[in-house]
Symmetry: C2
């Protein structure tokens, strides 16, 4: 069978092979990119879905507008306002089938084969593959503990004149990094200066452990005249409420939103109205603040436990910035004392010792750093985290 040429741009994920091993009994997994099912507010979601089917069964079960179910768009605009993005209107956003679909719609709407797109190095794996399927040539901007290096980013924008720049500025996957306030301003200024579209993907921003992070780039755009018209913001219910609903949203300039809506019409017609009506009822019931407070507390404890255990068990053989939110540690193997310095190699030894994580190389669009790895602290409790990191320590001694 002859497939479309665009499939030549992607490889089957190296991670998939690793994930097959996760079924092995007794494995402690730091490999996942998902929230802990045990923390889902099942009662609240059940109440919301029952209410949707009682109060609005026709709408919740019928075809809906491609742009999204209006009661949900209203709730999402209010949710964004509560997070400082006060000028978002219900008409200024569309509901997407998870934020993955927002990425797909951006690719479909904007990328012609050969177009350049700048992403962070490292960045979300499925973003890389998604944009490549549309023929994007990806350029990688380096990230440090304060997020993307904006000086280097500006040079890359000037040099490559990309179709857009894709960033996960807040507790990014996999970097866990938090883009500082100064750099956020700088991103908005360079968007205007270079007339370059910036995509802010923000699935983790609500999962902070201490003080709230700086405002989203979207919220900050009110302070940088002209920047809003170069800004796309993608949000998601997946990490804070439930990935299974597949409810995300995209805020973008009107013209882009209209084209993305047309593309969505032919992608899946609309996002499940059943899931949308459920999410709308959930938000309307006012349960989100308590849910967020609860998950923040649990993830903060787990992040604390993982950071402490990594220092204790792996010492100077590993280096990392303690994350202030999100789901991930991003770490480098230092090779100190002649220890293993290759993330892929370490992943293999680790799985033999009964602990899994994802090596860092697949998260780079280009020029992978082989010493890196991603550890998720989201799905194991503190005891399992300590046991798992202990196994990493054993694997390190052996490797």
């Amino acid at each position: 069978m002859q497939f479309a040429d665009r499939l030549n741009n992607v490889e089957t994920s190296a991670i998939r092979e690793l994930f097959k091993l996760l079924g092995k009994p007794g494995i402690i997994s730091f490999a996942g990119g998902f929230p802990d099912s045990a923390m889902f507010d099942v009662a609240g979601i059940k109440e919301a879905s029952d209410k949707a089917l009682t109060d609005e069964p026709g709408a919740a079960l019928q075809y809906g507008a491609t742009e999204g179910y209006n009661p949900l768009r209203e709730q999402l605009a209010a949710f964004m306002a509560s997070k400082g993005a006060k000028d978002v209107t219900p008409e200024g956003l569309i509901v997407t089938t998870g934020s993955q679909q927002a990425l797909d719609l951006l690719g479909k709407t904007l990328i012609s084969p050969g177009d350049k797109v700048i992403v962070e190095g490292p960045t979300f794996l499925a973003t890389i593959q998604c944009f490549r399927l549309y023929g994007a040539q990806l350029i990688s901007a380096p990230v440090d503990g304060n997020g993307v290096d904006t000086d280097q980013l500006e040079q890359l924008i000037a040099e490559h004149k990309p179709k857009f720049v894709y960033l996960i500025p807040t507790f990014g996957n996999p970097s866990g990094a938090l883009l500082n306030l100064e750099r956020r301003r700088k991103v908005l200024e360079m968007a205007v200066k270079h007339q370059t579209l910036i995509v802010e993907d923000d699935p983790y921003g609500d999962l902070y452990f201490g003080d709230a992070p700086p405002p989203s780039i979207l919220a900050l755009s009110a302070q940088v005249p002209g920047s809003r018209e170069y800004l796309v913001h993608c949000g998601s219910m997946s990490k804070v409420l439930s990935p299974g609903l597949r409810v995300g949203w995209m805020i973008a300039p009107a013209e882009l939103l209209a084209k993305a809506t047309m593309c969505k019409q032919f992608s899946d017609a609309h996002t499940s109205t059943f899931a949308q009506a459920t999410a709308a009822q959930y938000l309307k019931a006012g349960r989100m603040p308590a849910t967020l407070a609860r998950v923040r507390k649990v993830y903060a404890e787990r992040a604390q436990a993982m950071g402490g255990a990594l220092k204790k068990e792996l010492g100077d053989a590993i280096s990392f910035v303690q994350p202030q939110g999100g789901l991930f540690f991003w770490a480098s193997l230092t090779g100190a004392g002649g220890k293993v310095k290759d993330g892929n190699e370490f992943a293999k030894t680790a799985i033999e010792k009964g602990v899994a994580f994802v090596p860092g190389t697949p998260f780079y669009a280009v020029n992978p750093d082989h010493s890196t790895l991603r550890l998720s602290f989201a799905t194991a409790d503190v005891a399992k985290i300590e046991e798992g990191v202990g196994r990493l320590g054993q694997a390190m001694s052996r490797a």
Copy 2:
């Protein structure tokens, strides 16, 4: 803003403008393509979703496999077996976000810009636009009351060597036509002879009014050796249970299914597990046969009423084949007695008289027949159908 070149291949839908007029108070609409909300089994769906959230909350709310939720895949394989396609395994299908996504995945997986695809003339509007977004060059095979003309289809296949042929063989949208058994066999034979992939889109096959239609092309493929490897079958819960769930499925040869799964991973990761678990519980509860019996009966009455009213009110000014299932009448204006012969013109007069339908031209990929129109009998009850067709009669006298 500069959009991707692929957007140049689609026009904004002419229908969208018409649909804006549907909000006018008092309009009777035969324009929609959706089932009647009043017939949704709300109690059954509520029971199913409650059971999903009670028995399997983790799975129903968490990320899931891109291929689909296994309990649903099992139920869908059993559902297909109950309809005569006995060799469908759970692994032989993937769950899609409505059958619209199956079309999108076929486009993404198979169509390189310039590739030829044969569709029926007329065919489903969103199929035309979906494939064009991937750069397909569409060829149109004519349809009569017995479905696609297989002699002409074979000539077109031989001449154009298309990437695939897309058919809605059973109560097609918009044609309402039923491909007869002989032609179904012929389609399978030509798939093998010309080594051409056939896509059978089957959202309406369960909505028959009298005797069951001939077996699906998929079910028949068991009788034509070698044909199964050239066959894709798309199914949907939208017309029989609820469009709002966005649950469809695609059965295809393993290699194609694997590529489509990879594409889906970067399109929306997976279909809502909440909706999938709900659909699985619904099917498992054994409610589908009674639901199907109920909707068949109601739609049969409405189709009967519409056919009778059209003959009475419009006489020889309109010609159509009485549909044996589905949601649509497909009709031609004959121009008899100097009456209006143009579907677009008639639609405008009709809406002034308070009744809406969709003119037929947008359903043609090429060479539209301007005399055609599509009337849905799904959402108006018998009294409204008679009143609406009465208004069509008045519009006809005036036009």
